[in-house]
Structure formats: structure tokens, C-alpha cells
Subunit: 245 residues, 2 copies
Amino acid sequence: MSYRLYYWPGIQGRGEFVRLALEEAGADYVDVARGSDEAGLGLPAMFRRMEKGRGASLPFAPPFLEDGDLLLSHVGNILLHLGTKHGLLPGDPALRLVAHGLQLTIADLVSEVHDTHHPVATSRYYEDQLDEAKAKAAEFRRDRMPKYLGYFETVLERNPAGSDHAITGETTTVDLSLFQVMEGLSYAFPRASSNLASLYPNLSSLRARIRARPRIAAYLASERRIPFNEDGIFRRYIELDGDPS
Amino acid sequence: MSYRLYYWPGIQGRGEFVRLALEEAGADYVDVARGSDEAGLGLPAMFRRMEKGRGASLPFAPPFLEDGDLLLSHVGNILLHLGTKHGLLPGDPALRLVAHGLQLTIADLVSEVHDTHHPVATSRYYEDQLDEAKAKAAEFRRDRMPKYLGYFETVLERNPAGSDHAITGETTTVDLSLFQVMEGLSYAFPRASSNLASLYPNLSSLRARIRARPRIAAYLASERRIPFNEDGIFRRYIELDGDPS
């Protein structure tokens, strides 16, 4: 049976971290909200599914994933499930939790990226919180982005199995997600990201390797990969990217 | 062997969600940074431990928990581990992931509470981001807090095993964490929280039941429970709590 992924159509957003894992796994999945109403898919199907969750299975927000009877919310949680099933996380349960910790740090980074353009309220227009966004983005570029990327660079550097992966000597959902983070930051902050390759050589070569993996390369070249745009998490707003150097 | 919990001394903060689980489990643990330098504990011990993490075990930020050779970061991840070991999560692995999803929604709520007083930069003084904090807190009180609490109220309401618990008919780390959220919101936003009992009857009675559990009651009465204060996540700043009604 196919997985059913529920996420906003038209953006990569948080759903993209799940899509990359599904694609790398070669898993069969339906991207529900991107389907047509006629096929019983589309946004109405997503809203219906959100409403009918029983108790703890009620999702707070997309993305969520349906795997048979199981409905899981949160990117990290979904990837813990998919990674375990599809060999994209360590087989050792203890190491799997360690990997999950990295994944949750990535989730925090993604939230901070979101807050660079919506520091006050997700529900309000970007233009109505522009001053706050400029302050938040400046802080992100100066302090948070180097802190996060420096951290992951060190994680790669110190991996006893070699710096090609975040954990163990195999490709995990963490590696796939770090690829997406590097892609997203380069898209959203081209100036602030201009020297990523020299500052973070391990992350940069990981990014190149993931991009070249056959299933990921095929996915990126397909229509299933939505281009970055200014409705997603990683948005290119030149005024949030600092002064030209 | 004891667990070793690493978190900032002097605040409840995110560490408190872990402390509540350790206390309810009756687990033996050392709250490392709160110990004395002479005993090889205190903040220097925490910083030393942060530095020496190998690869993926390198913590990004406190809290982190040491369980023998295992070092785990992130509240949700630590609770997934502790809850599994100590019967504070469902025995069924699928339900455990569903519970973990709830825990990650709580983590998001906690981050939003933090951002009400530090919307621009964690590294800067509250006073230097006061205007932004007022805007963020107003949004939180009006939109986000009801959204989160309404969501958890519905989760309790729809629990097929009864509304006394978030998931299954047993006490889980999710219940303990919801108790802490209710305590924290009531402390930080006394005006905005004045009607929690009538708006969220299930959450309110869960809160009372958790507070009365013998180990939790003993913990709350002990010196191990740090009082809420204005260095933690839940801070009482009257100017962030809206107008008197």
C-alpha cells in the first residue's frame, strides 16, 4: 500500500524533507494535496483527513503521513518511522535515537529560517512585519546560521565512520535533510551563502554527493520537485540577505 | 547507574520536561550543572561534556541526557528514550510514535513561548527587543495559545481510552509535559490564563491529577523543583500579558 503524504501543495516547505526520504527509499507515495479534487485528492482531502484524526492521531499541522492505519505528524517523527523501515537510519536503536537528535536540531534550524520572514506572526503578511524580519534575518545570518552549520560541519568531521555522512557510514535521512538545508539556505540567502563551500567543506561535499544520488537526481529533475518560491520556508527576499559585499 | 541530566542551573526551562519524567519514573539521576565544582559537577562539567561529544553525539544545546554510553539531545528525543524504558509511553511502538508526535507539538509550543520574550535574538537582552516582544506576545495570546490548547483539549476529548490522558489509559510523558505547559502558561500569562479551567476542562483536570501524583507532588514540594523565574522559558512580564480586563 502507498504512503499518503499530506502537505501544502505548491511549496517544498517542511514536506520536502519527507519527500526526499520517500524518493531515496524508492517508496510508492501519493502527495495528497497536490492531487485533483476529481480523484478525491487535493486540499479538501487534506482538510478532511486533519479533522477526522482520533485522539492522539489528530495532526496539529501538515506535514503528516499516513501509513496504513498509522498517522504520524512532524517531520522528525515521520523520518524516524520511514528511516527505520527503509534502512535510512542506523539499525542500532540507540544510534537511531542519536540520529533523531540531529534531525530535531535540523527542525529547529528550519523553524528559525521560517521566522526570518515571519518573526511576529505566521498568520500575517510578510510586508506587515518587515522591520522585525530584517532584525531577525540579520541575527540569523550573523549568529544562528554559522552556529548551526558550524555544528553540523563538526558532526561530519568527528564522525568515526568518516566525514561523508552525519552518522555511521551510510546515507541517512539526516544526510538528505542536510542537503535540503544547504540548498534552501543557498536559495534564500545567496549573499550570506556565497562562501559555504570554503567555510563548510564537509557539508558542501555531502550536498554534492546527495544531489548526485540516482534517485535524488531523478527526483530533482522531475516535476515532483517543486521549485523554491516565496511561499515556502526558504524565501529569497533580497532585503533579508544583508548588504552586497 | 544514574542518569546524568545536563541543563542550565537556576531555571526550569526545557530541562523541566525531562526532570518531571525522571521524577515520575523514580529514576536515579544527577542534575549535573546544579552540582558543585568540587564534586566535579557544575557548569564547567556541562561545558566539558558538550565539547567532547563524538560525531553525531555532539549536543547542539542543553538539555541533554547521558545514559551510560548513550548521549541524547532534545527534550522529545530524551522523553522517547525515558518513556520507553520506564513505561511512560505506550508499549506498542506505533502508538509510541504517535505519542512522540504530540511531544514534538509541545516542543513547538514551548519554542513559541520562548519567542514571546525573545522574538529577535536569544543572545540579546529582552529590553532590547521589547517592541517586537509585545507584538509577538499579543499574537501568541490571541492566536497561538488558544490554537495549541484547543488542539490538546480535543486530543484529550477524543482519546478512545478516556479523557484523563492524552494517549491510551496510562500516564505518559505527554501528560506530564501538558501539566508543565499549563503551569508555565499560568505563571507567565496570569491574565491570559485566567479562564483556562472553563475553556479547557480536560487539560485543567489533567493538570490537577498530575500535580497530585505522589512522586510529582513530592518533587514539587522539594528543593529540586526550581521556582519559575524570569530567566527561564515561561517568564512573567506584565507588559506581555495584555490589558487588565
